[in-house]
Symmetry: T
Subunit: 75 residues, 12 copies
């Protein structure tokens, strides 16, 4: 923990399957360009309705990652 | 999108199965009397406990639908 | 309902499986020492990320139970 | 509790007498056109001042009722 | 003011022109079916972006109206 | 309503008798030095406990009054 | 005031009579098992509706008490 | 910036023309009696409806000004 | 909508002209370096006061854009 | 405590040294013109950055004082 | 992290010295009766004013600890 | 101030020493890769507890900086 600094970004993930999958999609997408993802926190759960059913689940969330000395990029 | 006006109502759905099902039940119920449901947003997730287990999941949510010229009724 | 008094405590449950399971784990744990659990309310949904996936789901929640004349202990 | 769906509306009641009476007036008014009122929750307490005294107490509140299969109308 | 009861509904208006016009559109739409509109309160200002410009302004708002003895309908 | 400007101040009233009396005491006190009090809005209800009973009810509230051309003073 | 530490618990009291009585019931119940109750703060006012009237007033509140060296128990 | 102390007051401005004008009216009014106004922050946007149109725009806002050694009065 | 992931950033735009122009300036600036801007949401409206008038309108807002496979850069 | 009425004002203090000093500066400034200051409550902690360091700590806070019969002035 | 359950309690610490010391006092007091304290989160910073200076700093905070199988007691 | 646009990012700094140091660490880290840092605002103060003492202070904060025409990079 020492004196690390974390950066927190806000993402919105979506999925036709459910809440956990929408979160998982956003985490996977963030992981493709950012190293050191550590935690997430849900801000808002919402969704699109089509034909009387939930067609897409959407989760707005904050994702935190460690800022280390090599920068944010993932290699 | 033009100049549509949306109305937003607040519903609470419940289900013994889980959070997504409680939301789905409320959407299905609203769909039986309202046309043009478009989106929902979760306000609160809660539930009843019986015998040390979650017996009913309850989700309080806002549901938005388009107000068109034929009124709110579904025919 | 009469004139019962309820006490509300705050718990954080976790699970590698999902949101409902994290809630269920916290309820089961509380049930092992408290009688008369009645309801819960979710305050916050968060989680730990490892290797680009959600490794642990964490739910911070309030749990309410009846204060009866025999005290809080479960026997 | 099963799989009922509840609708929640927002009302503002007023009374020259006090907070409980303003709430009671709104509940009575809602009861005249809606069946199955179940609970209320206070959002805001305010009032009008005249001649250095509270002339009207006003309570903004949410009122929940069960949506059953016969519709919202009271007969 | 006496003992009137008000009902408050939530609407979202939109307009390509600006914030006041989005509010005005929602008020005009509500006025076409509800009598006795009295006040509104803005909950959220948002909009859609197209080609680097704001294409639609959207305002989510609460609108209050008096519940009188003849019901909500406008004739 | 025209183009009046209102000022809103925050007060905390207290009373051994109840919530309405604590509000009434703060309104009466404000009325002794300010003209044109118009409305109040409750921010917080709290109190002091002595010997297992509520000894003083305290209400933190905002009070609005019209700013007219003669200044705030009451004569 | 010196260096005392206070603990704050959350309770929900209820009463068929009114808001102050619901608060008073919760304070009295807490006083039967905790020493040194000092203050309360209302979080939420709600109630159950039966037959078009408020049948039970419910107040969710935080209650603070001094933690002294002899522990929380009341003897 | 040094060690200045600022005071922040809450005002509500109104105008039949729009949101910016309601803010401008409140700022102009405050400027007539207070020196050193520095910034404002909008708390709430609301309005009165008459004949299906917005008749008065109302903006509740906080206004900050520097407290200097000569007091608040404007000369 | 499928399984897109959106990123949301926070910006503060300013303008001497008004609220819509401050928002428009921030959107135009973001559009110069980011592709696929989709929506904005206002967090806070504030401003600087000079000589008793609003000199600069400032709007703090969140802006959402699609994360696609080619990265965030605009070419 | 009896039936005192308190007034609460909002101040922003600043200091190059730290958070406690910014609060202390605001309290000292308020004390120079107001009698009977009793408590403060922090609303917001912020600051100005210059050359990669915090140059000024700023604390927005509410300060409460007793309204007694001789008025607010300090003599 | 596995499937631990945490309990979160609310404390208010105080100190004549400063904010960190008020927090430290509450943590030390909680540690004397609870095992496995893990984290805290500040809810509110306030204080008492005497003679124009901050006499006591008060911090209301939530403290989390692991619920393990041997119960909450510290031995 | 003119028509500058600011970007606001969220960081969490930590330090074993105290709140100001945790903030200072986050500012210093941000300054190593971003030009034109202007202000910060504290969102949350928390910390880790070890052996009955605060082992790490953590501050979640928003940091604002000017977006100028040369981009965000620091050279």
């Amino acid at each position: 923990m020492s004196e690390h600094v974390y950066k927190i970004i806000e993402l919105a993930g979506s999925s036709p399957l459910g809440i956990e999958q929408a979160i998982g999609n956003a985490v996977a997408k963030a992981d493709s360009s950012l190293r050191n993802l550590r935690w997430f926190q849900v801000n808002e759960i919402r969704g699109q309705i089509e034909d009387g059913e939930v067609a897409h689940w959407q989760v707005v969330m904050r994702v935190g990652f460690t800022l280390d000395d090599e920068g944010e990029g993932k290699t």
